[in-house]
């Protein structure tokens, strides 16, 4: 059929692990927007949800690090983290290997995509699913863009990947949803955890909301690292989504820095019906 839903959300583990430690006036509207996103996702009646993630060494390591990878298994599992730490129970997550391989075949026309018939999810996918598909009743297709360890795929390739993914979605009969998930500026998993460059985030989100390809692809890795920390590399997931919905504006439903969650928490959705 085609793309029936497109959105983006944060995935920081603190969102579930330390949920109650955030001030209620920030947490409640953030979680309320997750709820709105879930309702819109459900209303789109997708047959499968593609999660464009930036994993944290759940499946890939420096012995063989793909720039882009897609899962192609009948089921996945997660979280790899201590479930009591993340506060998300370990479980199987339904997949659709046949659909994955049909998507992969089309994407490969444009991008040298790695694929994997086994896949474990870390907080990068489990936190979004916890809010968006709490009953785990929709087939998930995990995608990873290496945002963890340099050298990173160039931003223009992340855009091209998004376009190739969209083409593949339009080519299959199923109704497809895409949720990209990443952080903007953050210094996670360091003593600086909780540091957020709000001005940088807002400037980036302005370009993202306008879906300004030229402005988004003008960032460079050195400046992003300096201004947006180790976590800034995850803007690749935003840029892939922007490429997938090229020409469409992106509605920033929620943004607020929440230091105990270690990131500027973001919820965004795309109106795919607007002309």
């Amino acid at each position: 059929m085609s793309l029936v839903f497109a959105g983006l959300c944060s995935h920081a583990p603190g969102i579930t692990a330390r949920a109650e430690r955030a001030p209620a006036e920030l947490r409640e509207p953030f979680f309320a927007n997750f709820n709105i996103m879930r309702q819109q996702l459900e209303a789109a009646k997708p047959d499968a949800l593609i999660v464009i993630a930036a994993e944290h060494f759940a499946n890939f390591f420096m012995d063989n690090m793909p720039a882009y990878a897609m899962g192609a298994a009948p089921y996945y599992e997660g979280p790899i983290e201590d479930p009591d730490w993340l506060k998300i129970k370990r479980r199987k997550i339904p997949g659709n290997a046949n659909l994955s391989f049909r998507l992969i075949k089309t994407i490969m026309q444009d991008i040298d995509l790695a694929y994997s018939e086994e896949w474990k999810c870390d907080h990068g996918i489990m936190v979004p699913l916890h809010f968006l598909t709490p009953n785990y009743d929709i087939d998930i297709i995990p995608v990873n863009i290496n945002c963890q360890t340099a050298p990173f795929t160039p931003l223009k390739r992340a855009w091209a990947f998004g376009k190739a993914l969209r083409k593949a979605c339009d080519f299959v009969d199923e109704r497809i949803a895409i949720v990209a998930t990443g952080g903007i500026s953050h210094w996670p998993a360091t003593p600086n955890s909780g540091k957020i460059n709000e001005a940088w985030d807002r400037d980036f989100l302005d370009k993202f909301a306008r879906n300004d390809k030229t402005a988004l692809l003008a960032y460079n890795d050195e400046a992003v690292y300096a201004d947006a920390g180790q976590g800034g590399a995850e803007i690749r997931t935003f840029i892939a989504l922007a490429g997938a919905v090229e020409g469409r504006k992106i509605n920033i439903a929620f943004y607020a820095p929440i230091p105990i969650y270690a990131v500027g928490c973001t919820i965004a959705m795309v109106d795919l019906d607007e002309s």
Binding site: R18, H56, F57, T149, A189, P191, N192
Partner: protein
Amino acid sequence: MSLYYVQKFIYNINRDTKLQTGFAANADMILANYDLTDEEACALREADIGLLYVMGVNGQLLMHYAAYRGLAWDDYIQAMKDGLAKYGEVRAGSYVTIDGGAGGAV
């Protein structure tokens, strides 16, 4: 220095509950499969999160390892700060501390 294998051990054990069981039963036997210095093997066995952080272990690997080894969030952040005080600045990798660890919240 074999930071690569320190991280590879952490990667493997973070995602494999069977390996975690084996490590709990005989840590040295599991660690012997990796090309580690005595200091590295000791830091991994003793869960010296501060030293592992200073060695340059990727923060995402170390955060999950600290959780698996039972450190609560505030204790994990404090362990990295203690590591900086005891062992000095981060020696490798991109997960360095900036501004003396300022700006953070735990």
